[in-house]
Structure formats: C-alpha cells, structure tokens
Amino acid sequence: MEGFLQNYGFLLVTLLQQSLLAFSLYFPLMAGQLSLASPGFYALGGYIAAIMSTAPECTPLREKLGTGIYPLEWLAAGLISGVLALVIGISALRLRGIYLALATIAFVEILRVICLNLEITGGAIGIFDIPQLFAERWSYGLIFGPLLLLTLLFVYRLENSRTGRALKAIREDELAAGAMGIHTTYYKVLAFVIGAVLAGIVGAMSAPFLNTWNARQGTFDASISYLAYVLIGGSRSMWGPLLGAVLLASLPELLRPLKDARLIINGMVLVVASIYLPQGIVGALGRLKRCVVKNTSPMGGER
C-alpha cells in the first residue's frame, strides 16, 4: 500500500486536482457560458498561497497561526478570486458565446504576463521552497479529496435546486430564460464566480503541493485541457468533468512508455474523442444503457 502510494500517490492527487479544475470550468458552462479563465484564477490562488507562505512580511502571521495559515490561504485565495471574478464577470458576461471565451483568454494572458514581471511573484523563476503542509505528496489527497467530494455534493444539490434550474434555462435559451423572469446576468456572474472561487482555492492548495509556483502555471493550454475534460467527459452531467479529467489527465502518464511520441497520441485522442463522443463519455454510456434496456425490454422499439 505504501509502495502503491509512493508510486501513484502524486498522480492520483493530480487527478483529483485536475477534476476540481474541470469543475471550475463546468460551473459557467452549466449556464452555457464558455469561460476559459480558470487557469488564471488557479494561478492567482497559487500565488496568494505562495506569497503568504514565503513572504517575510507574513512571518508574524505564520508564527501565530502555525498550520492554521493554510486554511487562511485557501480562504484568501477563494475570496480574492471571487471578487476579481465578480468585477470581470459583470463587465464581460454581457458578451456571448465565443466572445466571452476570448475575453477570458485575454484575462489569463494579461495575468500571466503581469505575474512574470512583478517582483512579488518572483519574476520568471517564480516562488519556490513553499513550506509543505504534508510530508508526503499523496497526503495532499487529504485536502483535494474532501474538496472534490464537497464540490460533487455541491453540484449534485445545485442541479436540483432553483439556482441550478435557472442556470440550465440560461444554457438552453438565454433569451427565453430572461422572458421567464430569470435574471440572466446575475446567474451567469454567479456561476462564473463559483468557478473562479473553486479554481482559486485549488491553486492555493496546489502551491505547497508542487512546492514551487510560477507564471507557467496558468496558461491558455491549460484552459483548453480543462475544456477538453468537460466536453469529452460530458458537459451535461456532473460525472462528465470527473470522468473526463481522470481519463485525460492520466493519459500522458499512461502513455509514458511511448516517450516523445506520447503527446502525438494524446492529441489524436482529443480529435477522435471529439468526433466519436459528441455527447461525451457520460452521454455515450447513457446511450449504451438505453440501447441495452431497449433491446431487452419486451416493449422495445415502441414510440
């Protein structure tokens, strides 16, 4: 068991972390909004945690709180990401479809360049030697795991609540949702902020997990990976992002024996999956299930 955790612990925790990031993109997508801002908030959260853990100005705080500094970091990261998301969301969520996606790409890139240049973020080399919360990498599963469970529970409850219905209505038809009395901007911003808060917290948890934080943590490529997790997993079910993240994020590791050809295969998988799994894996599984039920039920073929 210990050997197993030694071998795969880091990878497993990475999968939890990537699933959480997939959910940060799933929230806005529940309201039909393609936001690629998650890596930006993830990077921001990581920087907040890294700075709070290493900056000499925060030493008294660290001494006073001990390990209590970590929850405080998560809180700060979530809060700051949330507020920033609110500001961006209110201005950018008037935009629809691809325009919103582009605005969020711009946000991520601007943030990246700024972090690359500021003193407090450590410039190009970033911040390193971040104090560890746990001795072993796999132990970080003890924070990512519960966070993922909470997120799953949150999504599950959300989907069957008034708020969740409003989000789904906006995804289906924003105009009709407005005409049915749903304050579309409010709910779009809400979903965007929830996603940002989640990404910020995951970032704050990831900084000690990776031990170092730099401007390459939040990039455009990452946004597209998260999008791929959600779409290939299935964007209409809460299990989609989870399944997508676990499968796609472990793929490069599974392909390790292929050495430098592994990213070629990885890319091909993305293409093939988008073509043959238009409803995502969860959608395909659902169809499979319906097929089986249909063929075995005596009333098969009716309707």
Binding site: M1, E2, G3, L5, Q6, N7, G9, F10, L11, T14, L116, N117, G123, A124, I125, G126, F128, D129, Q132, A135, E136, R137, G141, L142, G145, P146, L149, L210, N211, T212, N214, A215, R216, Q217, P252, E253, R256, K259, D260, R262, L263
Partner: protein, 392 residues
C-alpha cells in the same frame, strides 16, 4: 473526513511491509529531462550527453558491473517532473537521478527524491537555492554568478576604451533574468556606464526596437542574456543595423546552436563558458571524440554537464564499492543511495568541465572557466568557440 481516516488507517497497516531489495543488474541510473515541450531543445542535448556517458563508462562499468540509463520525460512543467522522478525512484529503482532540465522543475521534483533519500545531480539548474533543497540534491552546473563576470573583465582587457554598455536580456526566462543582474553588478564594479537596459522575450523574433535603442545609446559594449535563438537573432539584427562594437553573450550563447542563427554575424562574440569542447584534458578529449562520432557536431555545454553528472554517479558508485568492500548489486538499494550520496560529496573529479568537486551542500566547486570568442569560417555556417583565456 471519513475517507481520510480510512486512508490513514490502511497506510498504517501496510507501512513497513516493503522489504529491503537489492540493486538490479545492470545498475539503473535515472535521467529525467524534457523530451517533449518547448524545453525539449535543452533536454535532448542533455539526453545525448548522458548517452555518450553510458557508452563510455560501460567500457569498464562499476568494476565490471554495467550501468543502464533509464530515461523519463519530464515535459516542460512541474507535474511532469514530479511524475518522472516518482517513476524513476519507485518503479525503476534507480540508484540516483540526473535532472531535471529547468530550475523551476527542480524546485518541484527534487524534494520528492530528497524525501525518499535518492541522490539527484542537477545538470543544468543554475538558480539560487537548488543545492539547499536538501541533502540529497547536488549540481554540476555552476551558478551564473561565478561564470558571467569573467566575460566583462576579458572584454575590457581586449578593448580598454569601452565606456558605455548596453544590457539586454530575456525577461521571461528565469536563467537570463538572474544572469543579467550578475552582468549589471560586474559592469558597475568595472566603473562602466549602463547606457541602456533593454528587455525582450525568448519568444520574440523582431528586435528592431531593442537594436535601434542600442544604436541610439551609442554603446560600445553590448551584453546579451538570452537563449540561442532569440539571442543569436538579436545579434544578427544588431549587426545588420550597423552596430560595430564588442558583444558579450551570456551562457545561453554557449552552444553551437547559435551559429546558424546569426551566421557570419556571430563573429567575435565573447562568451564566458563553464565548458569548452577545446578544453585540454584527456577525459574531455574522449568525450568530444565520442560525441562527434555519434552526433556529428561538438558537444554543447548541456551535454557536457549531463555527461559529468553521470560520471559523478559512476565514480561515486565505484567509491561505494571500495568503502563497503562489496559489489553494488549485493547491497540493498536504500543503502546504496545513501552511501552514493555521501560518496558524491567526497574528493574531486576530473571531468570534461575540468576539475570539480561538490561541497557539503552539494553545490559545485569548479576550478576553471573559459572566455571564448566565436570564430566563424568563410561560409558563415560553421564556427568554433576559440578559447581566449582560461580563468582558474
């Protein structure tokens, strides 16, 4: 938190179940560098150097026992480096690791090896704080602060009239931005005036702005901290626009990759080197010959450093055999790793980089550096780094 409790319980139950195991034969040595992503440029050179080392040292092996290089791709990111290290340590059961390519990756991955008590030799991590990551982390790459200033001294020796200096550096590269501060200090120490300070990105291709700024500042010395592609290109555009003065290239220029980039315009660039293929020592000769035979070109610094890293591990293993009076393969893995780490820090090594040793922290003590001048042949395609002076 139930999940956490269960995990903790299961782990406690199984802890200690792992028994001692011996080192396998041939002795596995890990190399974790970037074979994909945009860092692969350096990673592939490191791979080449390590391959030459494997072949060279297997002529005699560890007193007859062959070594085997096991490579894992780190990609360009931190998670990739951690995964690669993890694989090498736990699955491949290597005695030591050479890697990773980037300092940022080292900050993420080295603690993994350090915790598991596996020695790491960094072939190219020059950032401050790398050896301090832990007692199992060492490096054979001299920190920038040591190498860079020699070039400035040499430039002044060649042309004492130099007064105004233009400094340019790649802002988005960790190495270049730390190197430039060293250059700036060196320039100030020599009481020269910094006429202009220009930044660029390693991804830039058009340097007209920076080049015109240099010309306007009427600089007679230009110091560039960039990588081969952008730095070389900057030199090319600088010369094309009519800059005639001396140019010092940072460590990023210390590769033959720069020749095709600036072509004839490379002529005369001064580079302070931690490694020169022309260095006169028998091992370097052997290394350069073998490298040329395999890859039809001179070995770059990255290759030499990864060769050196492998060499240290090989010699360290030999020392372990002498100390324990047992074959490595008869010892258990954990012991070998700890003993190897101790051995690495003892004594000095004659390597392609010249004579070096690791101090108690694991940082390199390198005894000789070179300042070289690039000389291009008539075709403007092939060049050499001609040693101007050897600094002891």
């Amino acid at each position: 938190m139930k999940f956490a409790a269960v995990v903790t319980l299961v782990v406690t139950l199984f802890a200690g179940a792992a028994g001692a195991e011996n080192v396998s034969k041939p002795i596995p040595i890990g190399i974790a560098v970037a074979q994909t992503s945009n860092v692969a440029l350096f990673g592939q050179e490191q791979m080449n150097g390590a391959k030459v080392a494997e072949k060279y040292f297997n002529i005699s092996g560890i007193n007859g026992t062959p070594i085997k290089l096991i490579s894992q791709d780190t990609g360009g990111d931190e998670a990739g480096a951690i995964n690669a290290f993890q694989n090498l340590v736990s699955k491949e059961k290597v005695v030591g690791i050479v890697g990773p390519t980037l300092s940022q990756q080292a900050f993420a991955a080295d603690p993994v090896a350090n915790r598991l008590k596996v020695p790491v030799i960094a072939p190219s991590n020059t950032a401050k704080g790398i050896p301090q990551i832990g007692e199992f982390v060492g490096r054979v790459s001299a920190p920038v602060a040591k190498v860079a200033p020699f070039a400035v001294t040499q430039a002044l020796k060649l042309n004492p009239a130099i007064k105004r200096v233009a400094i340019l550096y790649a802002q988005n590269d960790a190495f270049c931005s730390s190197e430039t501060t060293i250059f700036q200090q060196a320039v100030k120490r020599q009481k020269l005036e910094i006429a202009t300070l220009q930044k660029f990105m390693t991804t830039d291709t058009d340097f007209t702005t920076q080049a015109t700024a240099v010309l306007r500042a009427k600089a007679d010395l230009v110091i560039i901290s960039g990588l081969a592609a952008d730095g070389g290109n900057l030199v090319k555009q600088l010369r094309q626009l009519g800059y005639k003065g001396t140019i010092i290239g940072g460590n990023g220029f210390n590769t033959t990759n720069v020749f095709p980039v600036c072509g004839k315009n490379c002529e005369g660039i001064l580079v302070a080197q931690a490694y020169s293929p022309l260095a006169q020592n028998p091992l370097n000769k052997a290394f350069v010959d073998e490298y040329r035979r395999t890859f039809i070109k001179d070995p770059p610094q990255f290759a030499a450093q990864s060769f050196t890293a492998i060499q240290l591990i090989v010699e360290g293993l030999r020392k372990v055999e002498i100390a324990t009076k047992k074959k490595i393969t008869q010892l258990d893995l954990a012991t070998v790793r700890v003993e190897l780490n101790k051995a690495l820090r003892k004594g000095s090594y004659m390597t392609p980089l010249g004579e070096i040793s690791l101090d108690a922290e694991g940082d390199i003590n390198q005894h000789s550096f070179y300042v070289s001048k690039i000389k291009m042949d008539i075709s403007g395609k092939v060049g050499v780094f001609a040693i101007v002076s050897v600094v002891k």
